[in-house]
């Protein structure tokens, strides 16, 4: 309903890419919910519907060399990061053509090719992982791109300063997590480590106001989450997570800060989940009126309206984008249906790496 909003400040291809990706996530997940009802997808299925602007805006601020760590509500992140919808859908079906060979399901999407490190079903579990990935980038002796000369990395606890030596990779690790993770020790330990060692982590907090069924106000004494990050001397940005432009601008600024050697940065994306926590959630903990109120700010609707208001999109073009997304989803369902079940004889593969001889 952002008719009064200024024009989208991007070149048309990017502006439309953001729309297309939000549509792709929305259509993928609407179909996934149907398929869940039909028994094709089982286990836990956590829908991102309502929050699409966050993944789309943030991930388009990264480069292919960056790393992404996400949560169990990660279909959208996986898709925008560049994973094929076919591989995602087949994984949800449990087929061996899925990205994780049917071993992961909805919550454990992984892709080495796009440096997508999951897909983590432990709240806060991805944060230490992201810190470690960033640490590797800091320490790697083979890093191709040095930090700018003279970049200061602060002081080590021992009092000995760390010089980057021009040997580190100039990558960003983007770590997505929800407001619920903020209550975990892993959050505090990870932010402290990242700040202490000035690691290139972009912390992306998707604050949708509910940790499953517990509202932020009922779980945190301090509900301003950026204050918590600031306590670790990490710079913070708050962004409207329902507005893909606000998200993208914030993420671009944040990623640039991190990439240029400024150390970690924390962005709080204020967003809202339109659907239940998972397919098992009867939603007893929030008013329908509250959900409806947030839906008025729906990221797809407001962005489409804005594009149209400024002559960047026609209804025909929108319908074409939507049809394209729907066709991609249907193709992925066909792909997943045609997929095969991994033979039970292979049950224990990939528990350990194959011995060197077998690997060769």
């Amino acid at each position: 309903m952002n008719v009064a909003a200024p024009p989208v400040p991007y070149e048309l291809p990017l502006a439309l890419r953001l729309l297309r990706d939000m549509l792709r996530i929305r259509r993928l997940e609407e179909r996934a919910a149907e398929l869940y009802g039909a028994g094709k997808i089982r286990g836990f299925l956590h829908l991102y519907i309502g929050e699409e602007a966050v993944a789309v805006g943030a991930l388009h601020a990264l480069t292919p060399d960056d790393a992404v760590v996400a949560t169990y509500r990660e279909h959208g992140h996986a898709l925008v990061r560049g994973m094929a919808m076919n591989a995602i859908m087949a994984e949800m079906f449990g087929k061996q053509e899925g990205c994780s060979r049917g071993r992961g399901g909805s919550m454990h999407l992984f892709d080495a090719a796009t440096r997508f490190y999951g897909g983590n079903a432990i709240v806060g579990g991805g944060l230490p992982l992201a810190v470690g990935l960033a640490l590797a980038d800091r320490m790697s002796p083979n890093g191709p791109r040095p930090y700018p000369k003279g970049t200061s990395f602060g002081a080590f606890p021992s009092g000995q300063g760390i010089s980057c030596g021009g040997q580190t990779r100039q990558r960003v690790t983007a770590c997505f997590f929800g407001d619920g993770a903020v209550a975990e020790g892993a959050f505090h330990e990870s932010l402290n480590l990242a700040a202490l060692w000035q690691l290139p982590v972009l912390f992306c907090c998707e604050n949708n106001l509910y940790a499953m069924g517990t509202s932020l106000a009922r779980s945190e004494s301090q509900t301003d989450l950026s204050v918590k990050a600031a306590a670790f001397k990490i710079p913070t940005i708050q962004a409207d997570g329902m507005d893909v432009v606000a998200v993208h601008d914030a993420a671009r600024a944040g990623a640039a800060h991190v990439r240029e050697g400024g150390g970690p940065l924390f962005i709080e994306f204020q967003t809202y989940r339109f659907r239940a926590h998972s397919m098992f959630d009867p939603e007893l903990y929030r008013d329908k009126a509250e959900v409806e109120k947030w839906k008025e700010r729906g990221p797809l609707h407001s962005y489409t309206t804005r594009l149209k208001a400024h002559g960047m999109l026609t209804e025909e073009e929108f319908l074409a984008c939507d049809a394209e997304a729907l066709a991609e989803v249907e193709a992925s369902v066909t792909f997943a249906e045609a997929g095969t079940w991994e033979p039970v004889e292979n049950l224990t593969r990939d528990v350990y790496s194959p011995p060197p001889a077998a690997a060769a």
Partner: protein, 324 residues
């Protein structure tokens, strides 16, 4: 020349750090302090604070960071001060390190080494005396090593680092001062058990901190005319079932020695396998010598009573020999 277990471990670390720029050591007080058990003493001066990385008291955080760094191409050695504190990191070890390869369909393996001190015997009471090796040995996706000799302290780190999957190394705190002759640079494997004393009457099967006590018991038994074989498990996951069965088929009697609590212990697993695989080779039911089922008490006499001791091993061996 005699070398201590501690020096052997330090030399293994030094060799790894010198040989591979991807290797670094991270943990609480590994740098300036020189390591809680002085294992890493002097390494900070040689390798600097980036590679001998002091970490805050954030076991979950820095173990998880080790996993991430391993994924990012490094070869981290994460030292968790003691097994007791590793409970704070168990989530990252079990839910991420052990599971990642499988749940990513083989896309990501975690070449991480985690070292920690374990075990009782120093009057450190209930929160600093655990022997929880079997908890880790329960988990598919990781490997569990228990070096019990100076040779293994020196040799196990290199193959652990070369392994593409996570490896947990338990160093029993009572072993750090153990001194033995060390042959220069004999490579060891991280796949097999080893017979430490050949014998024909009874198999004494032990690991980690119980190995010296078990060897001592074997000497006492020799004086009683019982020729005990001592099998050092060395690797708790995967267990070397063949070596266990080979010994039991030879002696027809087995006593398993384990500092863990009896119920659900590693000794229980070894015993179950013997019963499954070598039942008809047995001349007597196998026995176990484990820790008593009590949080470790502080007072010396109570702690000694709670732990496996040579005398208890001797008694169990005599019992399976029908000489109780």
């Amino acid at each position: 020349m005699k070398t201590s277990y501690r020096e052997a471990m330090r030399e293994a670390l030094r060799e790894a750090l010198r040989g591979d720029p991807r290797v670094f050591l991270m943990g609480e007080d590994v740098g300036r302090y020189g390591g809680t058990y002085a294992v890493s003493k002097g390494l900070l001066e040689e390798f600097g604070p980036e590679r001998i990385r002091d970490a805050p008291l954030s076991e979950l955080g820095f173990v998880g960071a080790g996993i991430g760094a391993a994924l990012g191409g490094m070869r981290p050695i994460v030292e968790v001060m003691t097994v007791n504190f590793s409970l704070l990191a168990l989530d990252q070890i079990v839910n991420t390190a052990a599971a990642l390869r499988h749940m990513s369909g083989g896309q990501f393996s975690v070449p991480l080494v985690i070292r920690m001190a374990s075990g009782a015997g120093r009057q450190l009471a209930a929160q600093h005396s655990h022997s929880l090796e079997c908890w880790y040995a329960h988990i598919p996706g990781i490997k569990v090593l228990t070096p019990a000799t100076v040779e293994d302290a020196r040799g196990m780190l290199a193959p652990a680092l070369a392994d593409p999957d996570p490896v947990v190394i338990f160093e029993h705190a009572q072993l750090y001062n153990l001194e033995e002759e060390l042959q220069p640079a004999v490579p060891v494997d991280i796949a097999s058990a080893r017979v430490r004393r050949a014998g024909s009457d009874v198999s004494l099967i032990a690991y980690g901190g119980c190995l010296p006590k078990t060897l001592q018991a074997a000497e006492l038994l020799a004086g009683m005319g019982i020729n005990a074989e001592v099998v050092d498990l060395r690797v708790l996951r995967p267990l070397d079932g063949e070596a266990i069965m080979a010994s039991v088929r030879k002696t027809h009697r087995a006593v398993i020695v384990d500092e863990g609590w009896r119920s659900g212990s590693l000794a229980a697993e070894v015993m179950a396998r013997i019963v499954e695989q070598a039942f008809f080779d047995l001349d007597a039911p196998p026995l176990r010598v484990c820790s008593e089922e009590v949080p470790m008490p502080y007072a010396r006499h109570l702690e000694e009573a709670a732990l496996p001791q040579a005398a208890k091993i001797v008694a169990a061996a005599r019992a399976v020999m029908g000489k109780a």
